[in-house]
Homo-oligomer: 134 residues x 2
DNA sequence: CGGCATCCGAACTGATACTG
DNA sequence: CAGTATCAGTTCGGATGCCG
């Protein structure tokens, strides 16, 4: 099923078909790489490979394919602006639109919160794990 | 490689191994069902199947397995509290911890923003699609 | 450099069936 | 009701090769 012509979906999964529209956007924004792309772009504009490296520094790294997919989805949703300059070698800059900036700020705030609360989370995890080991 | 004993990972993917810890929590929180669970629990406490139905009403629905996995991960991270009463038939109530409430509020705010901005997103999508059809 | 297309192993997802 | 276990389908993500 899923007659969707070619929504690209990106970032992550798409839930197939029956889904209220805003949930889809929410999933694009909160998708694995969508989150990181938005946060990075909040700081400044990036070129493709540059963005890839920037995300790679924090953790595991995005594959070229996934970054492409993520950026396309976010661009289609109007959150990211793609500026391709017709030069050799090619140069493509990605930046946030106004809409994207609003989303990114909320995402970043969530990321910061998570970072702040890590100690509490780690403690909770230790308690949880011990409880079922014992 | 990937000696991870059994992190359960839940909600979504886990990135295997090399990953700064806060990113993991962020992914649990922003995971497909994590987002929805947190939002629902923000309103009130829920029983397992009740929560499943509540999420099901908005869109596609969670499988039993995914809901279980999501709840376990969030519980381990100290965001959700699980209260299992030893009665027949079993009754298990899920609610947010203080930590969970903080996270949930941010997630909800992001969801509300998304819902508000849907019109802009749809418009951007239409423009994007038309540009490549033409 | 910035993509797109494909093959392919690995991980995630979800319906079903089964236990307590 | 609240899970666990299992099996099959989907997606992820790396590697590779090609194009502008």
């Amino acid at each position: 099923m899923a007659v969707s012509v070619k929504t690209t979906t990106a970032g992550g999964y798409d839930a197939g078909e029956a889904m209220c529209p805003y949930r889809l956007v929410l999933e694009h924004v909160t998708s694995r790489w969508g989150v990181l792309v938005l946060i990075e772009l909040l700081e400044r504009s990036y070129r493709f490979s540059e963005l890839r490296r920037a995300i790679g520094r924090v953790g595991k790294g995005v594959s070229e394919k996934m970054l492409t997919q993520t950026l396309q989805t976010l661009e289609r949703d109007g959150l990211v602006h793609r500026d391709a300059k017709p030069v050799i070698p090619p140069r493509v800059d990605y930046s946030l639109t106004e809409l994207g900036r609003e989303a990114a700020e909320q995402v970043r705030s969530l990321a910061l919160w998570t970072s702040d609360r890590m100690a509490d989370v780690e403690k909770a995890r230790a308690a949880y794990d011990e409880a079922r080991t014992a």
